[in-house]
């Protein structure tokens, strides 16, 4: 099997969802005592039947995280390079039809943003763009990486899916990781939320981690956007995707993120609500499913939620994020992609982590080539 799509096509959304809801307390208990969990165990842990076991899951998740990652938390920060976009996505502030001022940072503006973030202590950076191949295509991204490479040990991107040779070019130029979320694994719903633009091609997006694996990327970030469809089924398919990738591209590291729909310009109300309790259940389920996986938490979530979740399985966290190009120092008042929830400064988040006896890790990568 050389593509995840071949495996994915053997699964049915409705059947998978029903099998999650059919899980029993006994199956949850069995999953909780196992050392190596399979996909059926994962289904049990994200099922409604697991709700009464949430505290037990949280304890085990905390223990496993501590064992594998110690008392540490990695810091990263996003930097939005452009809000130009040729896609229509029903849930995104950058959507082509939204009448917002568009901006793509120049070299000088990028360096101004970098100076601001370096002064805060960041060494791991996430570069974000909309999907506008003519203005922010691979040449623009490569230039941005070259421009900032000497200042960051770890450069990650979250941009439009690219071809394998384009990823190879970026890896050669110092790219460490790529985050690419499927948004939803529900093929029909995906189409409804992405009616126009290159992103409407479900299969091309689904195949992106395969292209990344073949290009020899160091880390791939996976996830679904919670609110578009049933979070349990989307999480199951994320786990299926993860397991396939780990076996196929065994030299690559993986991370999972848990974005919930946030308010934004031209906003879409979530179709499916994912409560705080659901999100805790899911994070713990992923930790129990795979004790080595990196789990990431953005500023989409509230201060209170983040204060607690850093001890339940999360291993990397952002702070003080701006989701508009130039938002830190160049154009602080411009329109954001979505509203962040935790608005504390980097120093405040760092202090919160230290208060919980967590060592803040700024640097954990080096390009040895």
């Amino acid at each position: 099997m050389s593509h995840f799509k071949e495996l994915f096509d053997t699964y049915n959304w409705d059947f998978s969802l029903k099998s999650i809801f059919d899980k029993t307390a006994v199956e949850v208990e069995q999953a909780l005592v196992k050392d190596k969990l399979d996909l059926e165990d994962f289904k049990a842990l994200i099922s409604p039947a697991a709700k009464p076991f949430l505290e037990e899951m949280a304890h085990k998740s905390q223990l496993l995280t501590k064992k594998r990652f110690g008392n540490t938390m990695q810091m990263y920060v996003p930097m939005y390079l452009s809000n130009e976009c040729q896609n229509i996505c029903t849930y995104c502030g950058f959507s082509m039809t939204n009448k917002i001022p568009r901006r793509t940072l120049t070299d000088a503006e990028i360096l101004k943003e970098v100076a601001f973030l370096k002064a805060k202590g960041y060494d791991h950076i996430l570069l974000v763009t909309g999907e506008a191949n003519k203005t922010v295509g691979v040449a623009y991204i490569k230039n941005a990486i070259q421009l900032i490479r000497s200042q960051f040990s770890n450069i990650t991107i979250e941009v439009q899916p690219l071809d394998q040779d384009e990823y190879e070019l970026l890896v050669e130029n110092g790219l460490y990781a790529v985050l690419v979320y499927q948004e939803t694994y529900h093929r029909d719903e995906y189409k409804k939320h992405h009616p126009k633009g290159k992103k409407s091609n479900f299969d091309y997006r689904l195949d992106t981690p395969d292209r990344l694996g073949k290009a020899g990327i160091h880390k791939i970030g996976l996830g679904a956007l919670f609110g578009l469809e049933d979070w349990r089924a989307d999480s199951f398919f994320t786990a299926l995707h993860l397991k396939y990738l780990q076996k196929t591209y065994w030299k690559t590291k993986y991370s999972i993120s848990f974005p919930r729909l946030r308010p934004h310009s031209g906003g879409l109300e979530p179709k499916v609500e994912m409560t705080d309790s659901d999100l805790v259940q899911l994070i713990c389920a992923f930790r129990l499913f795979d004790e080595d996986i990196e789990l990431s938490m953005s500023t989409r979530e509230s201060e209170i939620f983040r204060n607690h979740i850093v001890n339940l399985g999360i291993t990397s966290i952002s702070a003080e994020s701006k989701t508009n190009p130039g938002g830190y120092s160049v154009a602080p008042q411009s329109l954001e992609q979505f509203e962040i929830s935790d608005e504390r400064s980097t120093a405040e988040v760092v202090q919160m982590l230290k208060n919980q006896d967590l060592e803040v890790v700024w640097k954990d990568w080096e390009h040895f080539r």
Partner: protein, 256 residues
């Protein structure tokens, strides 16, 4: 008093080597490492900012008795490992390197082929090479032949705290080796460390078990004592084990 351990041109009183990852703060790391009395402390190059003299980890390890052992964690090939070693030699002014090549990011299992290639190259470049490897007796002899100064076979996967899962192979390695054998990875309790030393290992390297314990400083002391006890027991020669009970009043004593 145990004989000192000699690796390359350095002598070590302590046979407990330690690591710097996973502590809740650099201050606690320092306190625990001082309590361990370890004289060789490995530090991941990918974690430190070698250009910065104020680096949080490095600045806490600035003690006369501490020798820094930079490791190449994060590299996936021999070529990257050689680059990393050269970087560390220049930045940290040491030609000692713990060679770690693990292309598998989940279990961090070492790549034997790339490790052997890198070791050969690094020895030629004048490094004191300490390779982290599987408990593979043949690989240990091959590494010895290319000139490494010790071998560091694993007891179990890194960070697993499972103890000596490779004991049968460690025994062969210890029996055959002409260079010091340092059991690295998997040691999760002082009893595991003592056991490795009783087997005849020359030293052990411990990180997670100290860093992640409830009280790292006390645990570091416990490991120090366990390593000393294990070494003392090895040097005192353990009493032979037997599957059968041997009566303290021998059955054949009447013959004399």
């Amino acid at each position: 008093m145990s004989q000192k351990l000699k690796i390359a041109d350095k002598e070590f009183t302590s046979r407990l080597f330690t690591g710097t990852g996973k502590f809740s703060s650099s201050h606690l790391m320092k306190e625990a490492l001082l309590a361990s009395e370890s004289e060789l402390i490995t530090v991941a190059l990918k974690r430190v900012d070698v250009a910065n003299e104020e680096d949080d980890i490095l600045s806490h390890l600035n003690h006369n008795h501490i020798n820094l052992l930079p490791n190449t964690s994060g590299v996936r090939t021999a070529k990257e490992a050689v680059f990393a070693a050269e970087l560390s030699r220049e930045a940290l002014e040491t030609n000692w390197v713990k060679l770690e090549i693990h292309p598998d990011p989940r279990y961090l299992l070492p790549d034997p082929i790339e490790t052997l290639k890198a070791a050969e190259e690094l020895v030629k470049l004048g490094f004191v090479v300490m390779p982290y490897i599987h408990a593979d007796p043949v690989l240990c002899k091959r590494l010895e032949e290319v000139g490494v100064q010790c071998v560091m076979p694993l007891g179990a996967p890194i960070g697993s705290n499972k103890g000596l899962k490779t004991v049968d192979f460690l025994e062969i390695i210890i029996e055959q080796s002409n260079v010091p054998v340092i059991v690295d990875a998997g040691i999760g309790a002082p009893s595991h460390a003592a056991y490795a030393m009783e087997l005849g290992a020359d030293a052990v390297l411990v990180n997670t078990a100290i860093a992640v314990s409830q009280t790292p400083v006390a645990m570091a002391k416990a490991f120090k004592m366990a390593v000393e006890a294990g070494r003392m027991a090895y040097e005192a020669k353990l009493a032979p084990r037997s599957e059968m009970a041997i009566a303290s009043s021998p059955l054949t004593s009447f013959l004399s």
